[in-house]
């Protein structure tokens, strides 16, 4: 009896506290105060802060402050804030949750470029059933990075940097074999080759789940249907992915890579024991700090040329009282002119179409930025900028498919069994297909 009473009182106390907290008002200072959330490393916060200072100084209606969250915890942090009723006004969104969050009502489905003369590229526009919900601030594609010293030492010519001259998959494997050495200097072509004692690998393909989509496309397959409503993973997609794992399993030219983490560049070129590896455009950003002299080329292809676009989107969050001001700020923030730091360093490519077509602008962000110039700039133009515009380059699934975070979780866990050879990709997909379908349905 008494205990029940105590529990009842405590329940009531919790609720009252909650109400008091919910009613806490906020003061205003005449200017619209916006909070902008972003991920990334603290150095990025500094460059972002510089950009925000410019914005705050150039007008007196809106003031934006930034909060930064580590990338791995980004989504849960934002959800905690949302549950507590203090979500930021706007911010970056995990690509994989963008459409799901819009459906949950966490993101306002605002086209921040509605009625604007120029818009970001179509390939980096998030659409739910055709309706625009967000744009990526950067437009990234994948490339093949290579260690120039290792190619020189083996006397192998550098990989091709234009789509027209791109390697076919078999050529890629052949070159990789010439660049793979065991402790005795043998290559996989030698009979005495010791696969357990490899000191230099020829190739590394980033197996982090979402990047595997490119190999499905390259082999003429698909992950998702065009309308984003169903799971495809057809035979061609499965074969394409299997080809990637076979680099390690069959050809002994790649290190084992479970694909459970996104360390692409660092486990490939960055680790100093791989001659060439695939990863996103953002790897340009490492060039400044790296001791390794590396260049960039186009991806090899299987049945057809393929690449995928990516890039973190920005969105207006549901809690905000000032959606118009938030959209105005995001538009300003997404303009390459105003957010030059990440573009100059090499982490981002510009999002707007004209930066890929106007020669003066191209020169400004490619030839005149040191991290791209050292690749050199000419190869960057053909292997990255041209590829970004090419029709063979398609948006990744998350631009038009809901719940890709759940799909991704399942793929990351299950594909590692294909990576270590205990199952084939076909077996893995057969096993997880119901789970993928259920995850997509939500």
């Amino acid at each position: 009896m008494k205990k029940a009473k105590i529990i009842a009182i405590l329940c009531a106390a919790i609720m009252i506290l909650g109400l008091v907290a919910a009613c806490g008002g906020s003061g205003s200072s005449g200017r619209v105060e916006l909070v902008f959330a972003l991920w990334g490393d603290p150095a990025e916060l500094e460059t972002t802060q510089e950009a925000l200072d410019v914005f705050n100084d150039m007008q007196d209606r809106i003031r934006v402050t930034a909060i930064q969250i580590a990338q791995e915890e980004y989504s849960e942090r934002l959800l905690t804030m949302a549950a507590g009723g203090n979500m930021p006004d706007c911010g970056m969104v995990d690509e994989r949750t963008a459409i799901g969050w819009t459906r949950e009502g966490l993101i306002l489905p605002i086209d921040i470029y509605a009625g604007q003369p120029s818009k970001p590229k179509d390939g980096i526009t998030f659409k739910d059933n055709g309706q625009t919900v967000a744009y990526s601030v950067a437009s990234e594609v994948l490339g093949l990075w290579f260690n120039k010293d290792m190619f020189d030492a083996a006397g192998v010519p550098y990989p091709p940097a234009t789509l027209e001259t791109a390697w076919q998959w078999d050529e890629f494997i052949e070159v990789a074999k010439q660049l793979t050495f065991d402790a005795n200097g043998n290559t996989p072509n030698d009979p005495d080759f010791d696969a357990r004692n490899i000191v230099q690998y020829g190739a590394y393909v980033n197996c982090w789940a979402w990047q595997m989509e490119v190999w499905a496309l390259s082999n003429g397959g698909r992950w998702y249907s065009q309308d984003g409503k169903s799971i495809v993973f057809d035979a061609a997609a499965i074969e394409g992915m299997q080809n990637v794992y076979d680099l390690y399993l069959v050809h002994n030219v790649a290190p084992f890579n479970a694909g459970q983490e996104d360390n692409g560049w660092w486990f490939s070129i960055g680790a100093g024991n791989v001659a060439m590896g695939t990863d996103g455009q953002w790897s340009t950003g490492f060039a400044g700090d790296s001791d390794i002299d590396y260049g960039v080329a186009v991806l090899p292809y299987m049945k057809q040329q393929a690449n995928i676009t990516a890039g973190g989107p920005v969105a207006v969050f549901a809690d905000t009282d000032h959606p118009d001001e938030a959209a105005e700020f995001l538009r300003w923030y997404s303009d390459p002119e105003n957010n030059w730091g990440p573009i100059e360093a090499g982490w981002w490519m510009p999002n707007m179409m004209n930066w890929f077509t106007d020669e003066a602008l191209l020169k400004r962000w490619i030839d005149d930025t040191p991290n791209r110039a050292r690749l050199p700039a000419s190869s960057f133009r053909t292997a990255m900028a041209d590829v970004a515009l090419h029709p063979s380059t398609q948006p990744t699934g998350w631009y038009y498919t809901p719940n890709t975070d759940q799909v991704d979780r399942i793929l990351i866990a299950s594909l590692s069994e294909a990576a270590n050879g205990s199952k084939t990709v076909a077996q893995v997909i057969e096993e997880v297909r119901p789970a993928l379908e259920a995850a997509l349905a939500g």
Binding site: D41, E72, E73
Partner: protein, 305 residues
């Protein structure tokens, strides 16, 4: 592991000598075997910690070299120990701030948790009251309930109250008895103190609180140190809860800062290991300072039933 089973085999075979002389010899052989075992296993136990230290002094590229070098040296940056890995920019891993934040959580937790655990342990050990068995059963029962179960509801409650990005959800629970295990431990310990001491105090006119403070507490010092250290370790290392309740970087704790460092700079492996080393050093220091009381403390708790 094969080493261990071999040693056990020897043990099984060794006895069977007769006479006093050989008995002594058997004992000596046992001691030598035990000692060798302990030395080998403790070397294995320390290996992962050494590996953090070793990797923290190498160039990022050398960490992945094949064959791996046991000492912190590589081919790219041979021999030179890269102490500069420890010069981590405060914007990436703000050691002093994170240390301060971790202490801001752990110290109140230790103080509140230990004192409330003493009070509860005392009541359970010494006082007679209605519902004692039931309450004690509830208490011991909660020890068996994985804390993870209450994670989601508690998280929802705290966010509903609006206490987010604060240390309160991490500290306040320790005002509530400091964990059933600690209550249990202190109760066991208090039961080993002769009751006559309490009664003498009572005759002198001391109330229950006075008895607790002046008689019980001084006689359970080592148990108090044990409980304090246990609470310290639990709160210091509680990644899951900190991950959920702490948002802004300036509120990060040591383990959270480390996780964020992995998340953001997982590329910078040498820096990552240096940060790991920096994270475990405070733990190690506290433990080394207290370990003499600590191990003895539990050993003497008389963990009988």
């Amino acid at each position: 592991m094969s080493g261990i089973t071999n040693q056990t085999d020897i043990k099984i075979k060794a006895p069977g000598f007769g006479g006093l002389q050989s008995k002594k010899r058997t004992k000596m052989i046992f001691d030598i075997v035990s000692f060798t075992c302990i030395v080998i296993i403790s070397a294995l136990v320390l290996l992962p910690i050494y590996w953090i230290f070793r990797s923290s002094l190498m160039g990022s590229l050398d960490i992945f070299l094949w064959p791996p070098s046991f000492l912190p040296m590589g081919t790219i940056n041979p021999v030179e120990w890269q102490w500069e890995n420890y010069i981590i920019r405060p914007t990436s891993y703000d050691f002093w701030r994170y240390l301060g934040n971790s202490l801001t959580i752990s110290v109140p937790c230790v103080i509140f948790g230990t004192s409330t655990a003493i009070s509860c342990g005392y009541a359970f050990a010494r006082l007679q009251f209605r519902g004692k068995r039931f309450l004690f059963a509830l208490c011991v029962g909660s020890m068996l309930m994985p804390a993870a179960v209450t994670l989601v509801p508690l998280y929802m409650a705290w966010t509903a109250i609006g206490v987010v990005d604060s240390y309160l959800p991490l500290i306040l629970p320790f005002l509530c008895g400091g964990g059933a295990f600690n209550i249990f431990l202190l109760r066991q310990f208090i039961r080993t103190i002769p009751k006559e001491l309490d009664e003498a105090a009572k005759i002198d006119g001391a109330g229950y609180f006075r008895t607790l403070v002046s008689i019980i507490v001084p006689s359970i010092k080592s148990a108090i140190i044990v409980v304090s250290l246990l609470i310290f370790i639990t709160t210091w290392n509680d990644l899951l809860q900190q991950l959920i309740y702490i948002h802004s970087r300036e509120n990060y704790t040591m383990v959270l800062g480390l996780t964020a460092f992995f998340g953001t700079f997982k590329a910078d492996f040498a820096g990552m290991f240096a940060a790991t080393m920096l994270t475990i050093i405070p733990c190690l220091t506290i433990y080394i300072l207290g370990q003499r009381y600590f191990v003895e403390g539990i050993v003497m708790t008389g963990m009988k039933n």
